[in-house]
Symmetry: C2
Subunit: 244 residues, 2 copies
């Protein structure tokens, strides 16, 4: 039996998604709890890793088990045991061709920046940004990110076959002092979203020009953007398994 | 010099407001930090205690110091040092007749209940309530709380001169699945807001009738309401120093 699960978690309480020796991770909690419930060893395969402090509402994982438990029952039992910092919002049985990572066609991330007064209750959930920023410049810079580009300048990976990715959309919602960046693409390399957000904020602050963005992309040089926005404002919202 | 400060904090990170030996509290962080900054011992006087996990946006404290630091500068230095779980939103110099607790004329608390799907990122900030509740019954029951009553049945204190308090207003805002109870009164005894919220939820669930509320108040018997809503949904929003 192959199970697919949609998982939400508060990244502030884990050392990232991936299992690490002696550190609590989302994967270790899910594997240990499912192994206990199903009484056979469970290996969790995620759609991708998220770093420590990165949140998720729509992480997708799959695992195989010889035990058949109706998904509705499993959801109830599992959520009771993993409470309170992880919540499985959906479980379904899928056929064995489904793979959480290999079948993924795209992902949606949000990044939240707040330019208002500091709220200590929101510290783990948004990036407070108190330098003056020009939203019109940011919006113009965002248009250069959309499309199919070589994102070598905006990622940290070193041993990838290709650094070409397609960004389907990149939007900015502004509600009061809260800026929510919403980005959908066919794939994101390590730290890519956080580097893009850091770049947008530099443009907004006037430390870079809007026209520097296409120049940086064309340069394919990792050293041009040495900034990474903090993990705490980043949310994995959705993994797409149909063409985006 | 007497300083008045308005303080916000995330209750999830402290063992309550009040200093306790070997436990981190809001008072101990403020006292230790101000003592370090002002280089003379600072004693913080709060408008009242809040329990572990209770949040505040409008806690008020005062302290005396022979050191004069312009409030704007002190706010900047202090917030830098107490970051991230406490934030002082305002500091002003007041005359020595002002006392954060004794001068207070009233307080406003909010309590947040969410009846929607569980969100692990909100666990420290709202009470999730998944039994079906009747909001019309709750609204009727709330009207019995407003006014001047002996709240002996709805508090835990044992050695008070009087258990009579005046509730000026008690409102319920509903936005989506989120219920925000807003209560303003001239004083609240230990656990009083959380006991009132628990009582309202029992009425909403149909486990008590609306008309049980005035009967419980009249009975002046602490044993009739053995329930206390969890701390995590409670927020001290404001302390009033003018007649409410």
């Amino acid at each position: 039996m192959r199970y697919k699960m949609v998982v939400a978690y508060d990244g502030a309480f884990f050392h990232g998604f991936q299992r690490q020796t002696n550190l609590i991770s989302v994967q270790s909690v899910l594997e240990d709890t499912l192994t206990e419930i199903l009484k056979t060893e469970v290996i969790i395969h995620g759609s991708g890793r998220t770093d420590a402090l990165v949140h998720a509402y729509g992480q997708v994982v799959h695992f195989d088990s010889t035990q058949l438990v109706p998904p509705k029952n499993l959801k109830k039992i599992l959520n009771k045991k993993i409470y309170p910092h992880i919540y499985v919002s959906d479980i379904e049985l899928v056929d064995e061709t489904f793979h959480s990572r290999k079948s993924a066609k795209g992902k949606e991330y949000h990044y939240i920046v707040d330019i208002g007064e500091y709220d200590p209750l929101q510290n783990n959930y948004v990036l407070y940004h108190h330098n003056r920023i020009d939203l019109e410049k940011i919006k113009k810079a965002m248009t250069y990110i959309v499309g199919t580009h070589d994102f070598k300048s905006l990622s940290k990976n070193k041993e990838l076959k290709t650094t070409v990715r397609t960004i389907k959309s990149f939007d900015l919602d502004v509600v009061g002092t809260r800026l929510t960046f919403k980005i959908i693409g066919n794939g994101f390399m390590y730290n890519m979203v956080r580097i893009i957000i850091a770049l947008m904020l530099k443009v907004g602050e006037g430390k870079l020009e809007v026209e520097d963005v296409p120049r940086i992309l064309e340069a394919k040089n990792r050293r041009l953007v040495p900034w990474v926005a903090p993990a705490r404002g980043l949310y994995l919202m959705k993994v797409f398994y149909e063409e985006i």
